[in-house]
């Protein structure tokens, strides 16, 4: 039957691509469908320095390498498309891609990861791509010798703030607390950096400009006072939310909208597995996503056999 696969993987981040590598290398007919950028959040990362065996690599390069590796074993990949229908409850699972039709499989691995948390304040959406960004690697060099703000105080925010100093003349980190939720090395790097300063206990509460971003309002969360700040760009790294909206009525989620899986990475639906940042777990890293993808793939092979 046309468009019938053994396994369909939803999502092409490190979890989905790893599952693709393991499945197709085992001669399992595999299709990976990805809505956004291949590599997911990994491809937005300026430098990855904690992937074992690779001292330093750009997230984009690692994504391309993983994609090539999956394809070299025969994994089919359809990317940058929208899935409009999921029918996962029966033995044969059915997925509909907008404009491309139906795809069927015996098992499904959901690896839909997470997406940037937005501030959800006035002007943020209007200036996306015009001064507001969620990806330092992609947009950093538009801010050569310009002043920018990085919003956030976790590892990603601090590491990307340092990366952005190679372009920007000044980086101001705006963070909601008076301490950072990051590793010691990342905190030391930003606090000792001559181009970086801080506005703590604060957040950005509005974005303003005409053609592109010109200023923001910064709100002090202790006093409620709002002040205007002229700025050329704002990079937002305030965490990630699981991309599980399409699965809300299909598989069981916890209160944080993360997919609940058992020790075989299976959801509450037989033959539907999940892996990576979209599942309920504590640590969200490329290594943990890769590990989840491996386990989901091996269990899916056992399931279909």
């Amino acid at each position: 039957m046309e468009n019938l696969y053994d396994v369909i993987i939803i999502g092409g981040g490190p979890a989905g691509l790893t599952a693709g590598i393991y499945l197709s290398r085992s001669k399992i007919k595999t299709l990976l469908i990805n809505e956004g950028i291949i590599g997911g959040q990994m491809s937005l990362t300026h430098e990855i320095a904690n992937y074992p065996g690779i001292e330093s690599i750009s997230g984009y390069k690692l994504s391309v390498n993983m994609q090539k590796q999956a394809e070299s074993f025969g994994c089919e990949i359809i990317s940058n498309v929208k899935i409009t229908g999921y029918n996962l409850k029966k033995d044969i699972k059915l997925i509909t891609i907008n404009g491309k039709g139906d795809y069927k499989s015996k098992a499904v691995i959901i690896a839909s990861g997470g997406k940037s948390q937005e501030l959800d304040v006035p002007g943020e959406k209007d200036f996306a791509g015009r001064g507001v960004s969620y990806c330092a690697t992609c947009d950093g060099d538009f801010f050569q010798d310009k002043e920018i703000i990085v919003v956030g105080g976790g590892n990603s925010a601090l590491e990307e703030a340092v990366a952005l100093t190679q372009y920007a003349s000044k980086v101001t980190v705006v963070h909601e607390f008076d301490y950072f939720q990051a590793h010691k090395y990342a905190v030391e790097q930003v606090t000792n950096h001559p181009k970086i300063d801080f506005i703590l206990n604060s957040t950005v509460s509005g974005f303003y400009g005409s053609q592109s971003l010109e200023k923001v309002t910064v709100k002090n969360l202790k006093t409620g006072e709002e002040t205007d700040k002229k700025i050329d760009g704002v990079f937002i790294f305030i965490g990630y939310v699981p991309q599980t909206e399409p699965f809300r009525k299909i598989v069981k989620l916890n209160k944080r909208n993360e997919i609940i899986v058992d020790d075989k990475m299976m959801t509450d639906i037989s033959g539907v597995f999940a892996a990576g940042d979209c599942i309920a777990k504590r640590y969200r890293q490329i290594t943990t996503a890769v590990s989840d993808g491996t386990k989901a793939a091996l269990n899916a092979i056992e399931f279909i056999n």
């Binding site: 950028i37 291949i38 984009y60 994504s63 940058n80 907008n98 404009g99 015009r130 992609c138 947009d139």
Partner: protein, 114 residues
Amino acid sequence: MTLQTNLDHIETENQYNDILSNNENVMICCGRMGPMCVPVYADMEKLRDEYPHVKFYDMLFDIPDAQVIRNLPECLGFMGLPFTVYYKKGKVVKAASSIQMRDQITAILDEQFS
């Protein structure tokens, strides 16, 4: 210098002007081989067969002649790659910055060039 895609490339301002004067419907994606750009080129490659009445081109963002796109009034304020520009009879009818999903591209192609 060109991008490593299977699209037809625009390398000079003259070539750009020729293309716009000789074709009614044109889509040009001006970018790099980066995470937000590559998916758009890949979609354009696939859309060529579905939209034979549209000409699809790319242009490397960093070559000097790409100023014809970088400096378009419609791209003023764009701070995300790629810059994707749609032309009808030589005039810009739509411009977008950063990644575009296949659906977003086809919506513009259908609206502007049907």
